[in-house]
């Protein structure tokens, strides 16, 4: 959150390593996935059970964010600046249980009924982000302190697959006389011919905006808008679109009374109609609204340094961009942390994802002289118990002075 650079007690903060990785899905726990992959006797019943566990709409996602360089410094008590470089790979795929059920069982069990096979959405993005942060102490009174910040970001797109709002509906006539397939698809893709470290396929701009309010000594509140913006992919950009219904009646035979001719060459093309253009397209960032409130109990170290001895906080994250890699998911988090002598900070948080998934997270950071090391996860269950469908890991190594 951009305004945090102004509230850091250290004048200079440099991250040497800052990495965040996440992997998860909305249907299977790590335990279930591990069981399936390591069980040698998976059979048809196993597949039936796996399909039964799927929801109507299912998500699978993963990502890796690396910050090779990130530093900030306070000019004075009223102004702070920062610069960050991040490599971001973020993916999310959405699919419907019905699609897999039809693939597994065939279309015959669903004859005579409209079968909605969607949504089938995909989002893969690798971008490079260069951000400059400016934070300003807008209000400094006895009991009130307000920092506001903005972080404009220059974005370079490396590759992208952006397939928002795709749907396929199938209808099989009761006796199999025809199969109607309705396509509502729009798929954008931009992949380079060769993958080179700094070869890009597009660029764009993003913004992070934030404000931090401190009331008295202990109450904190912040409101942030993160990842507003998009990347326009131009190189090797392709868009495949279809919005029509096709009817499959079989392969046509001609000249039945003479030399039979099989007209099968166009069947595949006729059944998968799409238009293809090579226009640039915009791939949106996973915009989020983050609201956080905290109650912090201050303390003083033996050396006379101020720190927050205990912290209790709640965080609400709401995704704003339906077809981005985060979508419109929401996270509600309640947490607490304890700082021991300003050197060791340990805490945990209880997270609820989309009001139906619970996760238990933990974090630990240590400070030795100017060196800071931190590690944390929003979900311990997969790491410890192989339970739960989603986990992540954040590792930070930096300098603060």
């Amino acid at each position: 959150m951009p305004a945090m650079i102004g509230m850091d007690r250290a004048k200079v903060h440099v991250d040497i390593v800052n990495a965040y990785a996440y992997l998860g899905n909305s249907s299977y726990s790590y335990k279930e996935g591990d069981l399936v992959l390591t069980t040698p006797d998976a059979d048809n019943q196993t597949v039936d059970e796996m399909l039964a566990k799927l929801k109507d709409r299912n998500d699978a996602y993963g990502g890796l964010i690396l910050q090779p360089l990130n530093f900030s410094f306070k000019v004075n008590d009223g102004l702070a600046f920062g610069f960050g470089w991040a490599e971001r790979i973020e993916t999310r795929f959405s699919f419907a249980r019905d699609f897999l059920e039809v693939a597994w069982q065939g279309n015959a069990p669903y004859a005579g009924e409209d079968k909605d096979l969607g949504p089938i959405d995909g989002n893969v993005m690798y971008i490079r982000e260069f951000g400059v942060t400016g934070a300003y102490h807008a209000l400094s009174a006895d009991e009130l302190s307000l920092w506001v910040a903005a972080r404009p970001k220059y974005l370079q797109g490396v590759f992208s697959l952006y397939a928002p709002d795709n749907n396929i509906t199938m209808f099989t006539e009761a006796n199999g006389k025809y199969i109607d397939i309705t396509y509502e698809n729009e798929i954008h893709a931009s992949f380079p011919d060769t993958v080179r470290p700094f070869k890009t396929a597009g660029n764009g701009f993003g913004f992070d905006l934030g404000g931090n309010l401190q009331i008295g000594e202990r109450l904190h509140a912040s409101l942030n808008l993160i990842d507003l913006g998009s990347v326009k992919f131009k190189t090797n950009a392709s868009t495949f679109a279809a919005n029509e219904t096709v009817r499959f009646r079989g392969v046509e035979l001609d000249n039945i009374y003479t030399d039979v001719v099989v007209r099968d060459s166009a069947v595949i093309a006729e059944m998968t109609p799409h238009s293809e253009t090579n226009d640039p397209y915009n791939h949106p960032l996973p915009a989020k609204l983050i609201l956080q409130g905290a109650y912090r109990i201050p303390g003083t170290t033996a050396g006379g340094e101020d720190y927050y001895r205990h912290s209790f906080f709640f965080t609400i994250v709401q995704g704003l961009s339906k077809y981005s890699s985060f979508g419109t998911h929401n996270i509600l988090s309640l947490g607490a942390a304890t700082d021991i002598a300003g050197m060791l900070n340990v805490g945990g948080n209880l997270n609820v994802i989309n009001f139906n998934q619970m996760q238990l997270g933990a974090f630990l950071s240590a400070r030795l002289a100017v060196v800071r090391l931190g590690v944390g996860t929003s979900n311990l269950f997969p790491l410890l118990l192989k339970a739960g469908p989603t986990s992540d890991l954040n590792v930070t190594l930096g300098l603060s002075f």
């Binding site: 399936v36 992959l37 390591t38 069980t39 040698p40 006797d41 998976a42 059979d43 048809n44 196993t46 597949v47 693939a103 597994w104 069982q105 065939g106 279309n107 015959a108 069990p109 004859a111 099989t172 006796n175 199999g176 006389k177 025809y178 199969i179 011919d193 060769t194 993958v195 080179r196 499959f248 009646r249 079989g250 392969v251 046509e252 035979l253 001609d254 000249n255 039945i256 009374y257 003479t258 030399d259 039979v260 099989v262």
Partner: protein, 369 residues
């Protein structure tokens, strides 16, 4: 015909082969994508994990169909016709058979016209585009001169074609040509005739019984409208080459399960009776469809102007058990016997909107691994 060399598309090894190809194709990048490596590894692991899973989706849907239109029926029903001419019709004054004599210069003379019915099922055909192929061998001992005309006429519609020979055709030589027909009307009153027959003649001997045989064959490409003869039965029998090689490791597996169904839609002004059999290379029957009974599809209702109204249908559900596929594998020919029985009406019309549609659908379990 339809050659179904089915591929084992759904075997784990084939999927792995495809994914390997994708990965290797990405190797032309200097830095192979981590995603490709991950996909390859996950696919290999998935194939190992699910090797005991039998993937057998059940497919219900169309396989093949054919639409038979009046043009196709007309061409199938139009036989090659012979117009045979007697030598004495050349009107040579001293003509005699089996004796050598000098004919002198012959013609120009018109040989007697012959009438022949065309397109047996049709009473009247308006051809937008078609053709007639003419061919003969000059079996007479005289040269037929260039300029000699072959003329086809309809007694009501007038000339259909008038084709002068472009060069001399000597004794023993053959001649063949195709003449386009555009926007012509053909009816029962069609006649064909040699006109302006010319020859330089010579000292020759005509054999008795030796006729000059001219063959002609009409082909429809597109017709505007045709009248069909009411209260008439017409039969089309045909053998088409047919091959269906479904191997044991195909999508249907070693023990196929399922059935094939036929759906026939009739929009011709005729009742259709259809029989089908499969024959081996020796002509013996290896499989009889519909239990040997003809499928009867009634004629659609006819309106006051002679046009068909709504098509009629015949559904033969589960006509073929896929378990009999081994018999079908021995087939070399598809034999069809189609009987058209036109109803009683003052007028029966067909045009390019009329058709018979025969569709084959399948309800089968596809075997994967």
């Amino acid at each position: 015909m339809y050659d179904d060399k089915a591929l084992p598309l759904y075997t784990c090894s084939y999927i792995l082969y495809l994914v390997t190809l994708i990965y290797l194709s990405m190797k032309y990048m200097k830095h192979p994508s981590l995603a490709a490596v991950l996909i390859l590894a996950l696919t290999w692991q998935a194939c190992q994990t699910f090797q005991n899973v039998k993937w057998e989706p059940e497919y219900l849907g169309p396989v093949v169909y054919t639409v038979i239109d009046p043009v196709e029926i007309g061409n199938a029903s139009a036989d090659t016709i012979l117009y045979a001419s007697e030598a004495e019709d050349l009107q040579i004054s001293n003509f005699q058979y089996d004796q050598q004599f000098n004919t002198g210069t012959i013609g120009p003379v018109d040989l007697p016209a012959k009438h022949e019915p065309l397109f047996d099922l049709f009473a009247n055909v308006e051809i937008i585009q078609g053709s007639v192929e003419l061919w003969f061998e000059n079996t007479w001992p005289i040269t037929i001169s260039a300029g000699t005309r072959i003329v086809g006429e309809d007694s009501l519609a007038g000339p259909i074609f008038d084709h002068p020979l472009p060069h001399d055709v000597a004794p023993g030589e053959s001649y063949r040509d195709t003449i386009p027909i555009i926007n012509k009307n053909l009816q029962y009153g069609f006649t064909i005739q040699w006109r302006d027959f010319q020859s330089p003649g010579g000292n020759v001997t005509f054999q008795s019984g030796n006729t000059l045989d001219l063959y002609y064959d009409f082909t429809l490409d597109e017709l505007s409208i045709a009248l069909v003869k009411p209260n008439k039965e017409y039969v089309l029998e045909d053998e088409s080459q047919f091959e269906l090689n479904i191997e044991d490791d195909s999508l249907l597996g070693e023990s196929p399960e399922g059935t094939l169904s036929f759906f026939i839609e009739n929009n011709l002004p005729a009742q259709i009776e259809l029989e089908m059999k499969l024959l081996n290379s020796l002509g013996d029957t290896v499989y009889t469809f519909f239990n040997g009974q003809p499928v009867v599809v009634p004629s659609p209702a006819i309106d006051g102007n002679g046009y068909t109204q709504a098509p009629t249908e015949a559904d033969i559900i589960d006509a073929v058990d896929i378990a009999d596929i081994s018999q079908i594998n021995d087939a070399a020919y598809l034999y069809t016997y189609t009987r058209f029985i036109t109803p009683s009406a003052s007028k029966l019309v067909v045009d390019n909107d009329n058709y018979i549609r025969i569709q084959l659908t399948a309800n089968v379990k596809v075997k994967g691994q």
